[in-house]
Amino acid sequence: MAAISVAAEWQLLYNRYYRKPEIYSMAWKNVDLSRNKVACASMGGPIAVIRDDSKIVQLYAESALRKLRIFNSAGVQISETVWKNPGGRLIGMAWTEDQILVCATQDGTVYRYNIHSELIEPTISMGKECFEQSVVECVFWGNGMVCVNEANQLFCIPDFKNPKPCMLLGEVEQLPMPPLCVAVIEPQYTMSGNVEVLVGVDDDHVLLVEEDGGVQQVSVEVGPIQKMVVSGNGKLLACFSHDGKLLVMSTDFSNIIFEYNCESALPPEQLAWCGMDSVLLYWDDMLLMVGPYGDPVRYVYDEPIILIPECDGVRILTNTSLEFLQRVSDSTESIFKIGSTLPAALLYDALDHFDRRSAKADENLRLIRSSLPEAVEACIDAAGHEFDVSRQRTLLRAASYGQAFCHFQRDRFQEMCKTLRVLNAVRNHDIGIPLSIQQYKLLTPSILVGRLINAHRHALAVRISDYLGMNQEVVIMHWACAKIAASLAEVVIMHWACAKIAASLAIPDDALLEILLEKLRICKGISYAAVAAHADKSGRRKLTAMLVEHEPRSSKQVPLLLSIGEEDTALTKATECGDTDLVYLVLFHIWQKRPALELFGMIQARPLARDLFISYGRCYKHEFLKDFFLSTGQLQDVSFLLWKESWELSKNPMASKGSPLQGPRIKLIEKAQSLFAETKEHAFESKAAEEHAKLLRIQHELEVTTKQAIFVDSSISDTIRTCIVLGNHRAAMKVRTEFKVSEKRWYWLKVFALATIRDWDALEKFSKEKRPPIGYRPFVEACIDADEKGEALKYIPKLADPREKAEAYARIGMAKEAADAASQAKDGELLGRLKLSFAQNAAASSIFDTLRDRLSFQGVS
């Protein structure tokens, strides 16, 4: 009996069945869709209704002021508000993915409301072009909107999460005429990741406008398009052409998939995709469903309707009811199709017999023994697609009956039961979220719970998140998901706590704290600070302080301590936890609020805070840092800062041209020097600063006399070398004595300098001045480095150490001499090393071998 009536409600479109069960009869009274502008959110979301100010309507017993009313899908009113917004006529209204109602008015202002009809600040303006040239049309998608103004310019808000209006078209070129129709390909389906707008204009082409301002003309052979709509996956486009044809093509216009002649020159009032398989067209009282093959299905309505496209069908809203038009799922079809003898149908039938205690039950089961698991699966799946609870139950009973006779994964059954419980709970008239199972899976449970919270359905939200979290080892494979479930409960409890504080002004702090803690304890890791912050906002200082104490997370605790003026505790807590960012937070807070000296005092005893302050100061606040050092008596640090500044002066282009501007620099350095001299421990630094000042003076003089700006900011050694290279030996000597440069260094410097200018005669002369205090090695090295073997040979024999001699010979490739010297040194290790460096040269290496054998050294490698 039941089976027959089920399939009797279906309509056949070519080879597919469609059905259109009524889900709700609307709870609202006196709502006439034709008098109103209506926005319905997808995924079973709320419905916003406001009197249409573009139509002339008769007022009944109602105020002349318009009311914006928000209902759930079952027509139960959630909230309402009086529409008092300026901005002219309301042009477009729609829900975003986050269930925020966006309303665009004529002057390009976009108002946003939450589900409680509360205006969300700030309102967004589409810019002055829209203000001056009224908006005439709006098209919305998931989280964005496109609008056209009277000047045929095109504007866009790509993402309401970050609402920044931009002009798509209009700066250089506009649309050639008011568009016939506009459709949008969502950013997630385009190549560029930006939204693409399709605009139907006259003749036979469509403009494709991209966000970066690119415009393409696409010609369509069918002439002007009156209406078009993009499919849910962004791949297909349904258009209604001027000659009454419905065309379905791919969104790149490359091929027409099918066309159907509607025999109506009048474009349909509404055009919508029903899933991915068929297209709905609605004229005054007729709804036409067209598929790629076969005759279309007609439905007749005697009242206005609104089509709400979903991912797996279309909801049809009328004044009195809400229906869901969807394709009958394969599993449902296999069970209920008239005359079906598929295993699933037989199983369902078997249950019926079983209930009536008929032996035919067993017969049926025998018939389908081998395919029982698939029959069970079909029954479970079909149950999922049902909105009717009793039918869900029968199907599940059939499944469980079959399950008893075969091996079937139990999880699948449990999972479906759980899903259906959640679905039935939210489909309840009062909640009014008619999700299909497919929509539920697409939406995900966590978002569903989020929506319930937003709608202040706390109890249900907690119960659902709890219910799903409880059996996590079954449902949730990964622990990370458990984390999400846990945090959901957290969000809900938070919400409750805040509402509680707001509502319990009369309850004393202690008592309220107890009430709060009792609930908050349920949830591990909940943010006490957030609750405390709320208490603070409600002006309950004492309660705040008590709650903060319970917060284990320093990152939450510290800011709150600051906001209730507990700066010292905040600084201690921040320092303890090791998070320098928190320390900075406290520092800047105190810095802003207190006089400098108080800040200095506070950080002086806390090394981490002090060092961080210094780091920041070094980077950005030199002067303030100097004050700090002065106040704490760290004079040497002030000196370092001054000294550093002296270099910054030198970077000033005016100072580096050898001009007398070295003066201010020297003054800074001398100031640094005197500060260093204040403390005994910094005698070295003081002396260095003094020498530096002196050096700068001398270098300045040298630049003046030589007329070459090459001295300033080179080191003392470099200055000496430069003097020698320039041939100015007197100046070099003067620098040497001025800074008491040691004999040793002097020899190295002079030898290297002479080698640089390859003045070998002078070098020789220098070597003979007197016996060099550090031997002849510098001479040898300088010559070898300059690749002057002949010169080097003048000095190598004079080397005192035979090892040095050996190495020097080796370096200029004289193996024999090297070997001789090495044998003099009686150094086996050296011999080995020399051999290595002569490894390329067989003759040389044999010399070493013989030598080594002769000396019979051990451990030579």
Binding site: C577, G578, D581, Y620, A688, D713, S717
Partner: protein, 596 residues
């Protein structure tokens, strides 16, 4: 071969860590729609190259630039900054914004901090009145797998900031990185720390566990059994010595940067005039995996053997008749030819450096200093380096080694060398010297050095080191066993107990803690048998020890650790965490600061 290493053989699932970082980066880029100019902190460039390929960035409409003082030249209107949370980088961003404003350029700015936003940085933006122009976010890159067994926290300046500036931010980042690891691999039950920073990190880690607990009951047996934290400060001798392993030498002379060296293409046998090429160096290269940890002397021999056997096979191939299967074997062998060629080229290039007398002399001197026998010879050697004005960092490196092993220099010598340094290299290096003194690296002697005691007790100098068949970690420095790794060796074997007395001679405190995820249940100590269970991961893998070096680690030390891990009777796999891969040169450079 790609620069991004294959992490398939890692003892823990490092691939998931890298994939996560990659996903986060791509999400950031995806969320900023359309074409954009990605301006990265130059120091991040290397890290990013280990996470995503540039081609992938381009697919997301990215134009890549490096952050510096110059204004950004681009057609894009969206500028995305990706910078480390460093105060000094903010001024560039501010100047860009000011510059654009003065030119009337309308640009959208997105600023992503790595690894997280910081109040101090944003404060500067506020003071410069550009904060409101920026959309600010964060890219939580706390750690980056460099190779199968190396994790880097990418904190280049951590050591200097802690030792000189007293800025402990990096310690929090390190703790955060380890805590993040714990979320994936379970709470690490044993923590051993040596050094001030390490003990602090252990402390912060415990705080984090209290604030945001890793629930160990959900995760089963933790994959990492022990965490050893070690301050670089504890052992400044090792990094100052020239590394003698293959990878270490590559780093010393050619600078390995994020798993690759860059050199002239001519060295690698590619004839392209003056062009640089990048040679990736990681364990995806089988041959490199085999030889990276060997002493360089041995590497040359191994390569020679490989080449010879290859040649032999080839001659056989051309002279005798071969069966098909033999041919197949030969062709298989041929596949390794590019790897052999690559490393022969590199080794040859390296030996031009290692055969220089100056390098050999330097090695000699390092050995002398480490043995701490002849103070005067060392002193004079360094003095002469200064007089010859050899590169400053080379001088400082040796001077640090000298100062650390002697617990500072007698005041007279200290002042003398400092004066000579300033005279030779300029007074602007006062700040460098001041930094080094603050960090205790070059300082005045205040007490007697205990280096000899430490050296003897830990057997740091091993006389008969056979580099070809090593039986001790000392092979990595041809006779010196790195102090840091000796400590790890003890810590892994038996905890700090066995070296308690020596630890007291080294800088900083030490600590040893046992942790458990169940706050209420008794600790494992009281449950007999529980501890031994913890040592084995269920599926027969060896359990893991994570060794974290705060302040950086050298390749030679990593090689020594790998050597330990490969020893018979070793119950653990070792993985290394470090603030950065360093060598004596790079770590010294972080302290060099010109006043000017």
């Amino acid at each position: 071969m790609a620069q991004i290493p294959n992490l398939g053989n890692a003892p823990i699932n490092l691939t998931s860590i890298r994939d996560q970082s990659q996903k986060e980066l791509i999400t950031i880029l995806k969320n900023i729609r359309g074409k954009k100019c990605l301006v990265i902190d130059p120091n991040l460039g290397g890290s990013l190259s280990l996470i995503v390929q540039t081609s992938l960035l381009r697919e997301h409409g990215v134009e890549l630039r490096h952050l510096n003082a110059d204004p950004i030249q681009t057609e894009c209107t969206k500028i995305v900054y990706l910078v480390r949370t460093r105060l000094d980088l903010m001024k560039f961003i501010c100047s860009h914004a000011h510059n654009d404003a003065s030119k009337g350029l309308q640009r959208e700015y997105f600023l992503y901090f790595v690894p997280r936003r910081a109040v101090a940085c944003e404060k500067i933006l506020e003071e410069e009145k550009v904060h409101h122009l920026m959309t600010i976010g964060e890219y939580p890159l706390y750690l980056l797998p460099l190779d199968e067994d190396i994790l880097s926290f990418e904190l280049d300046n951590a050591f200097k900031e802690c030792a000189v500036d007293g800025d402990m931010s990096s310690l929090w980042y390190i703790a955060k990185a380890i805590h993040k690891l714990e979320f994936s691999f379970g709470l690490i039950p044993n923590v051993r720390a040596k050094g001030k920073a390490s003990v602090r990190v252990a402390d912060i880690l415990n705080r984090m566990q209290a604030e945001e607990p890793v629930n160990s009951s959900e995760m089963g047996v933790p994959e990492i059994n022990t965490l050893i934290l070690l301050d670089r400060e504890v052992d400044m001798v090792t990094p100052m010595c020239s590394q003698l392993t293959y990878e270490g030498l590559l780093d010393e002379f050619l600078r390995v940067n994020n798993g690759a060296v860059e050199l002239d293409s001519s060295i690698m046998g590619v004839q392209q005039e003056g062009k640089k090429i990048k040679v990736p160096l990681n364990s995806s290269d089988k041959l490199f995996k085999e030889i990276r940890d060997l002493n360089f002397e041995v590497v040359v021999q191994v390569l020679r053997q490989k080449a010879t056997s290859m040649k032999q096979d080839y001659t056989e191939m051309t002279t005798t008749n071969q069966t098909v299967s033999e041919l197949k074997d030969f062709v298989k062998k041929l596949n390794s030819l590019p790897e052999i060629t690559r490393h022969i080229n590199l080794a040859q290039h390296l030996s031009t450096f290692t055969s220089k007398p100056s390098f050999l002399g330097r090695l000699d001197m390092e050995q002398t200093i480490v043995e701490a026998q002849s103070y005067d010879i060392c002193f004079e050697y360094i003095e002469e380096m200064i007089h010859k004005q050899e590169p400053l960092v080379n001088v400082l490196r040796l001077l640090i080694l000298f100062s650390v092993t002697n617990a500072g220099l007698p005041k007279k010598n200290f002042d003398y060398l400092r004066r000579e340094l300033l005279h030779s290299y300029g007074f602007e290096h006062m700040a460098t010297l001041n930094n080094l003194e603050k960090a205790g690296l070059i300082r005045k002697q205040e007490s007697k050095s205990n280096w000899l005691t430490i050296k003897r007790a830990l057997q740091l100098v091993v006389d008969d080191t056979d580099t070809a068949n090593p039986n001790d970690i000392s092979y990595v420095f041809s006779g010196y066993a790195p102090l840091s790794i000796r400590l790890v060796q003890h810590a892994v074997r038996s905890g700090w107990r066995s070296v308690e007395e020596i630890l007291k001679l080294l800088p900083g405190p030490h600590s040893e803690t046992k942790r458990s995820g169940f706050a209420s249940s008794p600790s494992f100590n009281t449950l007999p048998g529980a501890v031994s269970n913890m040592d084995k991961v269920g599926d027969g893998r060896r359990s893991l020890v994570l060794v974290v070096f705060i302040g950086g680690v050298t390749f030679a030390e990593i090689s020594a650790l790998r050597f330990l891990s490969a020893q018979e009777g070793m119950a653990y796999d070792l993985i290394v965490g470090t603030t950065k891969i360093i060598n004596g040169h790079t770590v010294t450079e972080t302290f060099v600061e010109n006043l000017g």
